[in-house]
Point group: C2
């Protein structure tokens, strides 16, 4: 059966899978991203992971799709993932192409691949206008409009983390101010809560913060409300601007449930008042951990919708 080798490269894990034309995963391997290796050593870990997946079963491979943390040049995919210091300008697409001569090899931003997974086989299935978001250590996303992936001029389309939700808000790592990501990224929440007097019992993470909020800790609750509001404002701006049908929200922080989604909907309802904007569905992502792999495979299985780079 025609399969795509799908790769998902992030700061904490590397994953490889075979994905068929229905978006089903028929082979899967993952490992932790080696934290301190140099570029070539990381490449060898990835290569071994892919080999293992390919060795597990006989298959007719029709291409390689890959999601990777940004920034990267696109579509050439020389990648410099923020959380993989060993790769700076690493020629990922060229190396994958060398390894798989004669097959199409396509690389895109990991948040875009997660959005594509959600559009192809998840919460956005059957719609033509969708935003897929990832709310986690960072806030990223991808857009499908008119049934097609929006790449943008340089592959950065869908970068909702830098929609401004408060022009006088906190500084953002991008150098701007008041971006959604500055407020709603997990570590940003934790920092804010600590400055407001939150003292976690064990580790210091977004998950602990959500747990404490669930137990009614007032500062933890306020932190979740603040993030939810920021998300609601950014989503309202985006839906007003783009006339979407569905917004899917994935990533670790999205698992906080109503703690995050209640204030999100409150802010969205306040700022999205036009009839067309109020018809959008805002839903948790449907695919979970494998969305990125499914979306990476979609770059190969459905290029007429999802691939705007050179073949």
């Amino acid at each position: 059966m025609s399969q795509v080798l799908a790769l998902d490269i992030g700061g904490t894990k590397l994953a490889a899978a075979l994905v068929d034309q229905e978006g089903r995963i028929t082979g899967y391997q993952r490992t932790e991203t080696p934290p301190d290796l140099d570029g070539e050593a990381i490449w060898r870990v990835l290569e071994a992971l892919a080999e293992k997946v390919l060795a597990d079963q006989p298959t007719e491979l029709i291409g390689v799709g890959c999601g990777c943390g940004g920034p990267m040049t696109w579509p050439a995919a020389e990648v410099s993932p923020l959380n993989i210091p060993g790769w700076r300008g690493f020629p990922l697409r060229a190396r994958l192409q060398e390894r798989h001569p004669g097959l199409p090899v396509r690389v895109h931003n990991d948040a875009i691949c997660m959005a594509l997974g959600e559009h192809w086989r998840g919460a956005g299935r059957g719609t033509a206008n969708m935003l897929g978001m990832v709310v986690s250590t960072g806030v990223g996303g991808g857009l499908v409009l008119g049934g097609r992936l929006i790449d943008g001029a340089s592959g950065n389309g869908g970068h909702i983390g830098h929609v401004v939700v408060d022009p006088d808000g906190p500084p953002c790592k991008c150098g701007g101010r008041g971006c959604l990501e500055a407020i709603a990224r997990g570590p940003g929440l934790v920092e804010w809560a600590q400055a407001e007097g939150w003292r976690p019992e064990t580790t210091v993470s977004g998950v602990d913060l959500a747990d404490d909020a669930r137990r009614g800790h007032p500062v933890a609750l306020a932190a979740m409300r603040r993030a939810g509001h920021a998300l609601g404002v950014a989503i309202a701006s985006t839906v007003n601007l783009l006339d979407l049908e569905v917004v899917s929200i994935g990533g670790g922080l999205s698992q906080a449930g109503p703690l995050l989604f209640d204030p999100l909907h409150e802010a969205f309802d306040r700022h999205a008042r036009m009839a067309y904007a109020r018809q959008v569905r805002i839903v948790p992502a449907a695919l979970g951990q494998t969305a990125g792999l499914v979306g990476a495979a979609a770059l190969i299985h459905e290029p007429e919708h999802y691939w705007g780079g050179e073949p």
Copy 2:
């Protein structure tokens, strides 16, 4: 020569033209929008205007393209323009089709048509990712992404007037709060300036306000700065999100020049920090008054790029 009958229907004027496949206007007529007529009477004025244009020269008509003030259903184009009270649910596309049987008839929002004109033959020519804005009595726009017009789920794509620039800002006519349009629309500026003590000598309009700002009136200057900042924040959000190449700004208020563009660039520079966002060109619209007609014609001349409705 193959010509399109292009129509531009707004609250203050009706315009009709013949537009060839190069985007050149070869016949042109305009008249004031009759303020108090009923729907049928307005239709007859429009019909007469089109007849005059068609009578002026022999032509091979290949279709009818029309921009009209919103809201409207799309692509069916039952229109209810805010500033034409005589038309509520007026079946514009159907009536044009009746009048021109056998020809393609396509209607879109007037701000979208202005953006299309700018993309096809104006400031966005040759780019694939553009926002065209109109800053006037309202704030509207249209988006071309990946070389194609973004319609959105219901024809409302590109509606940048309702990007939120200040979540606690003034109420907007849409029912929301802190929208770009609430702050940067001409009448909004004037209202704010009057509340701050501006007393115009003659009429009360955005043009007078710009004139007084040019003469150094402190409140008028502050009003222009406030609008420029709001525009800069909304454009930064949009460029960060969509990775655009060019933003063109037209409409009456855009003629204020540096009074508006200086604070706009200041706010944009503060909030658009990523390398890809800083490469965008923000420029005044190139086509002026006729952009909407040229864009309406583009719906017919270039459907593979600009028409996503049924044929």
